[in-house]
């Protein structure tokens, strides 16, 4: 079994994106939603570095991936802060309970 390296990394990227999408679609727990977002962003980061690797532009890819890591961490922090505040306000982490804001 001698698969080309971009093919294997591409499969890893697609699997991360697929599992993350499924988590976003199917789960109702706010913290699990953030886990799904993190998985998708890891796939995006791998894509940047794979593209840089294929074009001999690894330094440019690394600078972009660094921005992605920072943005991803901040999204996680703000999302977790929101989840904690919602848990304090509503007493649950269920995303369906958020529709009570409409009333």
């Amino acid at each position: 079994m001698n698969l080309p390296i971009p093919f294997i990394v591409g499969l890893a990227i697609l699997s991360l994106a697929g599992v993350g999408f499924y988590c976003l679609l199917a789960t109702r727990n706010l913290i699990k939603v953030i886990v799904g977002l993190q998985l998708i962003v890891k796939g995006v980061m791998l894509t940047f570095v794979l593209a840089g690797n294929l074009n001999d532009q690894v330094s440019l890819a690394q600078s972009m991936a660094l921005t992605v890591i920072v943005a991803d961490t901040i999204v996680a922090v703000v999302g977790l802060a929101l989840a904690v505040q919602i848990r304090h306000k509503l007493g649950t982490l269920d995303t369906k309970a958020l529709s009570s804001l409409k009333r």
Binding site: L16, T27, L39, S59, Q62, L66, T73, V78, V84
Partner: protein
């Protein structure tokens, strides 16, 4: 061979992170996924970003997750999903298929990153916008941490008044 093992590990850990019943276990599997992603970045020839991913993705984010889960408490995860599972799987297959088509056919990986320079100092000399963006992101992150920490304060004040 290493790539196959790491890719299989990433898939396995990602599935375990999504399907595990306890939030804390889910956070730990996310950290393992992050560490394996860092290993794959290292194998692809990007050691600096691998180190940053390992320390931030597997370290800082996991600590934040555990902290938030401890504050908000474990909640049973046996809720019914919003949409039926077959529909969710169908949408996932469509999305992944479109992503794979873009990756393979339109040559994105061949033309996305083209620049004239290959210096390692590219981040500091050519990409000022990214740095400004990162500074503002970090500022937002500090505000977010304050949001996490301010969760328990009102109760303490009430106890003091009594």
């Amino acid at each position: 061979m290493w790539y196959v093992i790491v890719a299989a590990g990433i898939l396995l850990c990602a599935i375990l992170a999504v399907t595990s019943k306890r939030l804390l276990v889910s956070a730990i599997w996310l950290a393992v996924t992050s560490a394996l992603t860092a290993l794959m970045l290292y194998l692809l020839g990007a050691p600096q970003i691998a180190v940053i991913e390992l320390s931030v993705g597997a370290g800082l984010v996991t600590v934040l997750f555990v902290f938030a889960i401890n504050i908000s408490g474990e909640e049973p995860l046996n809720l019914k999903p919003i949409m039926p599972r077959p529909l969710a799987w169908g949408l996932v297959v469509v999305a992944v298929g479109m992503t794979a088509y873009l990756l393979i056919n339109s040559g994105i990986l061949g033309s996305a990153l083209v620049t004239s320079t290959t210096r390692p100092s590219i981040l500091w000399e050519d990409r000022y916008l990214d740095i400004i963006l990162q500074v503002s992101f970090i500022f937002c992150g500090v505000l977010g941490v304050l949001g996490v920490l301010s969760g328990g304060k009102p109760e303490i004040k009430e106890e003091d008044e009594e």
